[in-house]
Amino acid sequence: MAYDCTDLTAFEGVMVFCEQRGGKLMSTDFELISEGRKLADERSVELTGVLLGDGVEGLVPELGGYGADRIIVCNDPRLANYTTDAYADVITDVIHTEKPEIFLVGASNIGRDLAPRLAARLHTGLTADCTHLDIDMNKYLDFLRTGSTLKVDDMKWKMEDINLKMTRPAFGGHLLATIICPRFRPCMSTVRPGVMKKAPFDEARAAACKTTLFDVKLDDARLKTKVLEVVKEARNIVDLLGAEVIVSVGQGIANDPQKGIAMAQELADVLGGVVGASRAVVDAGWITADHQVGQTGKTVRPKIYIALGISGAIQHKAGMQDSELIIAVNKNALAPIFEVADYGITGDLWKVVPMMIDAAKAAKGV
């Protein structure tokens, strides 16, 4: 039957794009498979993953363990490294064949390159950087009861709605918007890394996960880009998403950025954490962009988030307000960062931070 993106009934199942780099799966894959499992269960449908690479079928059980029923494996030397051209062509073929109702992509630099290209080609909607997904209206309303200021129970709702409800922050988390794609399929969404919770690994599911080897058809004439090299730069990469403690610096370090960052690093080292930064600090070139927390940077939820000299623009708050415990030091008692802080100290960071380092050392017994 011909592919028709408006024939809603022809589409079934939840599909996740599983991204590998250098033959290794990304942690976002496990988050998305775990989230996809919940959605597939709500719809009582199959959860599939689509995995592209060159000889990558060995990764299937790893994905199965987090909840995938079946992985569609696309092997070809031209798929070893990501290119928009090759990946978009092959995944378009997969979607034309499988017709999933929902297609999820991790919002990595690669996912955010691929997903819009696919959505434009498939003539369907795409919602970027989602932080929450629901199908069932009861679950969605439960989410709104705690996650919004809406008087949910005083409002009228279409309880039979079965669209994927894709919620994302807008304007720095000041607003949240739930987006639907009611007239076209698949419903597509990119999902923020680090937001969805990974399910426990299930050995039985890993063993039961099926593999479909997809017949890859690539036309060299359509491949206009070529990857010349892939370079890993581990030294610059800060694992903000995996960190339990983040010590972030803001414009308050402007008088001596180097010293400010060094102090933050020392405090982070004592507490076993890493250094983050506000947009202003990154824009000023004092630290590399991989340290940036916030709407355009990373969304983090460490156990402890220490904000030093950060006023707390909404973009920044959006990226850190879900941290378990927030400590803010700012000389301005009215700084918005104190609105989200659990503990605040109004003071000069150049004086307070050295004392914090000493106190942290004492507390840690070092």
Binding site: T83, T84, S108, N109, D113, P116, R117, A119, A120, R121, T124, L126, A128, D129, L144, T146, G147, S148, T149, K165, F171, G172, G173, H174, L175, L176, A177, I179, I180, C181, R183, K224, T225, K226, V227, L228, E229, V230, V231, K232, A234, L271, A289, A313, I314, E324, L325, F338, V340, A341, Y343, G344, I345, K351, V352, M355, M356, A359, A360, A363
Partner: protein, 267 residues
């Protein structure tokens, strides 16, 4: 050779964000700026233009007539021509519909072999990063996103494309579309000469009538009606409970803080 740059005028979200009662953004009450990443795209285009004989930079903006002031600034930076795509039929477009319209605008101007389209990585009002790749798809040309370095050699571009854990070096044929990040360059300022000359430069306004014959422009592919995504609900998140401001900023205060952390077993 045409070097297009797609630019968006955005509300300045670093200032106060005004929200209407229905939960949508009150754009009218907010100051507007040129989207920051788009300035890097403009700079990339101007740099390339300065290297290549017989090339020109065309600014392409979709927006209300008031975007003219921003376009004047970009012309004063050194861009050669501008196209403002504006019409009420285009209002309410999501990224899909927006890319249909901008792609139609670029085609109407004329996209030739060897031409290049630059975009910023993403706009600060929506942060989707979708319109660039979607324009590339609608134009049927390759894309490279997250460009942090660009080398031009005849009909080919070599681009340093950033990843979270490093980068790729990618070679692409032209025509192509590149999205730029702030690491790529430092945007130049307007020049005195540019400010004096901007109003002598070609400035085109494309409305619905001008674009309607392009196959990309249909009633069901543009504007609110042509947008695959709809807002189901928009809302504000609850405010976090008020935290505790510690008194003072001396050693006793810092020690008190760390005692609390120890008692709570968070460190």
């Amino acid at each position: 050779m045409n070097i297009f740059v797609c630019v968006k005028q955005v509300p300045d979200t670093t200032g106060k964000v005004a929200v209407k009662e229905d939960g949508t953004l009150d754009r009218a009450s907010m100051a507007t700026i040129t989207n920051p990443d788009d300035l890097n795209a403009v700079e990339a285009a101007l740099t390339l233009r300065d290297q290549i004989a017989d090339s020109k930079v065309i600014i392409v903006v979709m927006g209300p007539p008031a975007a003219a002031s921003m376009i004047h600034e970009l012309l004063a930076m050194g861009a050669d021509e501008a196209v403002l795509i504006s019409g009420r039929e285009f209002g309410g477009s999501d990224t899909f519909a927006t890319s249909q319209i901008i792609a139609a605008g670029i085609k109407t101007y004329g996209l030739g072999e060897g031409d290049i389209v630059f975009c910023g990585r993403q706009a600060i009002d929506g942060d989707t990063a979708q319109v660039g790749p979607q324009i590339a798809e609608k134009l049927g040309i390759p894309q490279i996103t997250y460009a942090a370095g660009i080398t031009y050699d005849g009909g080919k571009l070599t681009v340093k494309r950033m990843l979270e854990d490093g980068y790729m070096t990618v070679e692409t044929q032209t025509p192509c579309l590149i999205t730029c990040i702030k690491e790529l360059n430092k945007p130049r300022y307007m020049s005195i000469k540019g400010i004096l000359e901007f109003d002598t430069k070609p400035y085109y306004v494309y409305d619905y009538e001008k674009l309607k014959d392009d196959p990309l422009i249909e009633a069901d592919t543009i504007g609110l009606k042509g947008s695959p995504t709809n807002i189901f609900k928009s809302f504000t998140p609850p405010q976090k409970g008020v935290g505790q401001m510690l008194e003072g900023s001396g050693k006793e205060t810092v020690d008190k803080l760390f005692n609390i952390l120890l008692e709570k077993h968070v460190i």
